[in-house]
C-alpha cells in the first residue's frame, strides 16, 4: 500500500499496469462490484475502494476512465475518475461529515479490464481526532454507474498509543451503507 503518497505524488502512483491478479478476487460479468475496505487507524479513516467491473459493464466504466477515448488512461483521467467516485460516497464521524482526500488510484490496462479481470483501486483518507470513548462511523456509497453490488467492511489498525474495538455494525439491505460503533482507548 502507498498510503503515504500525497498530493502531486499521486500522479506518480497512477499507473496503467497489468493488475497483479493477486489483488483481485472476482470476475463478475454483468455488474460492478464495489468493495469498500474501511480501516480505523490513529488520526484517520482509511478507505480502499476496489471497483471490479464485469466484462459486460466494462464499456460504461471505461468511458468514464478514458473520456477522450484514446485507449489509455492518463494520470489526470484516473485522478478525475477517482475524485468523481469518491464524491459519490459520504463519511460521517460522530454526526459530523468528513471529507475524503484522494491518496492513490491504480487502474489496470483497459485490455485487462475488458476481460473482467481488473480492479480499479482508489485509496483515500479522512482525518478524525482520536478521543477516548465510543464513536460512530457511518459510510455510504451512492456510486452506481451500472448495475452494482456494494459491500463495506471495517478493519482495525491500532497504533500510536490507541486501541480500537468494534461494538456494533449495522448495514443497509442493499449493501451501500455501513454504520460502525467503536470504542477508542489509549493504551
Amino acid at each position: 500500500m502507498n498510503w503515504a503518497l500525497q498530493g502531486s505524488q499521486i500522479a506518480a502512483f497512477v499507473t496503467s499496469f497489468a493488475m497483479a491478479a493477486g489483488a483481485a478476487a472476482a470476475h463478475p460479468v454483468d455488474e460492478l462490484i464495489q468493495g469498500a475496505y474501511l480501516t480505523l487507524a490513529p488520526g484517520e479513516v482509511k478507505l480502499q475502494l476496489d471497483l471490479t467491473p464485469g466484462a459486460e459493464v466494462v464499456p460504461s466504466v471505461s468511458s468514464s476512465l478514458d473520456p477522450d477515448a484514446d485507449g489509455a488512461v492518463s494520470e489526470a483521467e484516473a485522478r478525475a475518475y477517482a475524485e468523481q467516485v469518491l464524491a459519490d460516497s459520504t463519511l460521517i464521524l460522530d454526526r459530523e461529515p468528513a471529507a475524503w482526500s484522494l491518496v492513490a488510484v491504480t487502474v489496470p490496462d483497459l485490455a485487462v479490464l475488458a476481460e473482467g479481470g481488473g480492479v480499479i483501486r482508489i485509496e483515500a483518507t479522512a482525518l478524525r481526532p482520536d478521543q477516548d470513548g465510543l464513536h460512530v462511523l457511518a459510510y455510504e456509497n451512492y456510486h452506481e454507474p451500472v448495475k452494482s453490488l456494494w459491500m463495506a467492511n471495517v478493519f482495525l489498525r491500532p497504533g500510536e498509543g490507541w486501541t480500537y474495538a468494534v461494538t456494533d455494525q449495522e448495514r443497509s439491505d442493499e449493501g451501500r451503507s455501513l454504520t460502525v460503533t467503536f470504542e477508542a482507548r489509549p493504551e
Binding site: 491478479a21 493477486g22 470476475h27 463478475p28 460479468v29 473482467g116
Partner: protein
C-alpha cells in the same frame, strides 16, 4: 440445474481414479507411509515430508529448480489467485507438464496433507475447470469466453486458459520435519496453501470454489460443496426468529472480502455469536466450520478444530442473502481463530454455480504464529 456432461471419460480416469495416498499401502511412485488416526502429529508431518520427497525424487533437475522457492520468498508465498491462467500467472510446475508417475506422486502428497474429502474436492475442482474448458468458458448464457470474445469484437477470447492442466505446484522452502516450508497447489478457483512447521500444519489462507459447482462427470453427479451447503442450511433452519435477526445481516448477498491480496486484514466479528446459540446450534456451527476445514488431514484438523471450539463463544455467524437459499447466499464465520467466507457469484447466470470461498486464520495465516520473528 446446470448439469453439463464431460464426455472425456479418459480424463476422469486420469484424474479422479488416482489413488488417495493416505489410503495407499503400496510402494509405487505415489506411495507414502500410511498414517493411522491415532498417530502423533510428528508422524503426520513425517508422512507429509516423505510424500514430498517421493514427489521431488520423481522430478528431473530442471523441474526441481522450477518447483522450489526460498522460504523467504514472500512474493511466491502470496502468489495465488482465483483467476485462470491468462489473468494470473502461477509459478512452479504445471500439472499438464507432469508425467503420469509424477502426477501420481503429487496426488500422494496432496492426499497426505489433505483429507480424503479434501483431495476429492481438489480433484473435483480440476474436473470442474475441465468442464468449463470443454464448454468454452461457462456454457450458453454464462460463458465467460463467449462474453469476453464479444467484447473483443468477436476476434477471440483473449488469453484465458481453462482446464485441469492449468494447476500448478510449488514449494516455498524445502520439505522438512523441523524447518518451516509450504506446499502450494492452485489454479482457477483454487489456492491451497499448506504451511508445515514441525508437527503443525495450517491451510490458512486457502481459497476453494469452482465453476460449475454441480456437473456430471463420466456419469457421476458431482456437487463440490454439498456438505457445506447442507450444513449451512441446517444451521439456519435451527435458528429462532430472534437469532435470525442477528445472523442475517442483509438480504443481498455480499462478495468475497478477504480473497487474494488481502493478507493481514481481519474482518470484525459480526452476526450471531456462539455465546448466543444453544448447545445443539453450537454443534451445528462447528459442523459447518468442519465442512470447510475438513479438507485438512484428520490429525492436524483435530488441533485446529480444538482451538476454534475454545473460542466458539466469540465466533460469529453472519448471513447475506436469501435466508431460504443456502446455495446462493453469502455467509461468513468470523472468530479469533478463523475467518470462513462462502461466496456465490453471479456470472450472468446461476450464482450457486460459481463460488469463491476462503479460509483464513487471523492469528496464523501462513503459519505466522509458529514462526519466530
Amino acid at each position: 440445474m446446470h448439469s453439463p456432461t464431460l464426455a472425456a471419460a479418459a480424463f476422469a480416469a486420469a484424474l479422479l481414479a488416482l489413488p488417495v495416498a493416505a489410503q495407499s499401502t503400496s510402494q509405487g511412485a505415489g506411495a507414502v507411509p500410511a498414517v493411522s488416526a491415532e498417530a502423533a502429529t510428528d508422524a503426520q508431518t513425517a508422512a507429509i515430508v516423505d510424500a514430498a520427497e517421493v514427489f521431488m525424487a520423481s522430478l528431473d533437475d530442471s523441474q526441481r529448480e522450477a518447483v522450489l522457492f526460498a522460504w523467504e520468498d514472500d512474493a511466491q508465498r502470496t502468489n495465488w489467485s482465483n483467476f485462470p491462467t491468462g489473468l494470473f500467472q502461477r509459478a512452479g510446475l504445471r500439472w499438464g507438464d507432469l508425467t503420469g508417475p509424477q502426477r501420481e506422486s503429487l496426488t500422494g502428497l496432496l492426499g497426505t496433507v489433505l483429507s480424503e474429502d479434501g483431495l476429492r474436492m481438489v480433484q473435483e475442482q480440476m474436473a470442474s475447470d475441465e468442464v468449463l474448458k470443454v464448454e468454452g468458458g461457462g456454457g450458453a448464457g454464462g460463458g465467460l469466453i463467449d462474453r469476453v470474445s464479444g467484447l473483443f469484437g468477436g476476434g477471440g477470447p483473449g488469453d484465458l486458459i481453462f482446464g485441469s492442466d492449468e494447476y500448478y505446484v510449488s514449494f516455498v522452502g524445502e520439505p522438512s520435519e523441523s524447518e518451516p516450508w509450504m506446499l502450494q497447489f492452485g489454479g482457477h478457483h483454487l489456492g491451497i496453501n499448506a504451511t508445515v512447521v514441525g508437527p503443525n500444519v495450517t491451510l490458512a489462507p486457502s481459497l476453494t470454489g469452482g465453476q460449475p459447482v454441480r456437473f456430471t462427470l463420466d456419469g457421476q453427479a458431482i456437487d463440490i460443496v454439498v456438505d457445506e451447503v447442507t450444513a449451512a442450511g441446517t444451521l439456519m433452519a435451527s435458528l429462532s426468529e430472534e437469532q435470525l435477526g442477528e445472523a442475517v445481516r442483509s438480504e443481498t448477498r455480499s462478495d468475497l472480502v478477504l480473497g487474494p491480496g488481502h493478507d493481514g486484514e481481519t474482518l470484525q466479528p459480526e452476526g450471531l455469536t456462539g455465546a448466543d446459540m444453544t448447545e445443539e446450534q453450537r454443534t451445528l456451527l462447528l459442523a459447518l466450520i468442519e465442512a470447510r476445514l475438513g479438507m485438512l488431514n484428520a490429525d492436524n484438523l483435530a488441533t485446529t478444530m480444538a482451538s476454534i471450539e475454545e473460542n466458539l463463544d466469540a465466533t460469529a455467524f453472519a448471513w447475506f442473502g436469501p435466508a431460504d437459499d443456502p446455495a446462493s447466499a453469502y455467509w461468513r464465520v468470523t472468530g479469533p481463530k478463523l475467518v470462513v467466507e462462502f461466496s456465490p457469484q453471479e456470472m450472468g447466470g446461476d450464482a450457486a454455480n460459481h463460488l469463491h470461498n476462503m479460509y483464513r486464520d487471523p492469528t496464523n495465516d501462513y503459519g505466522a504464529a509458529w514462526i519466530p520473528r
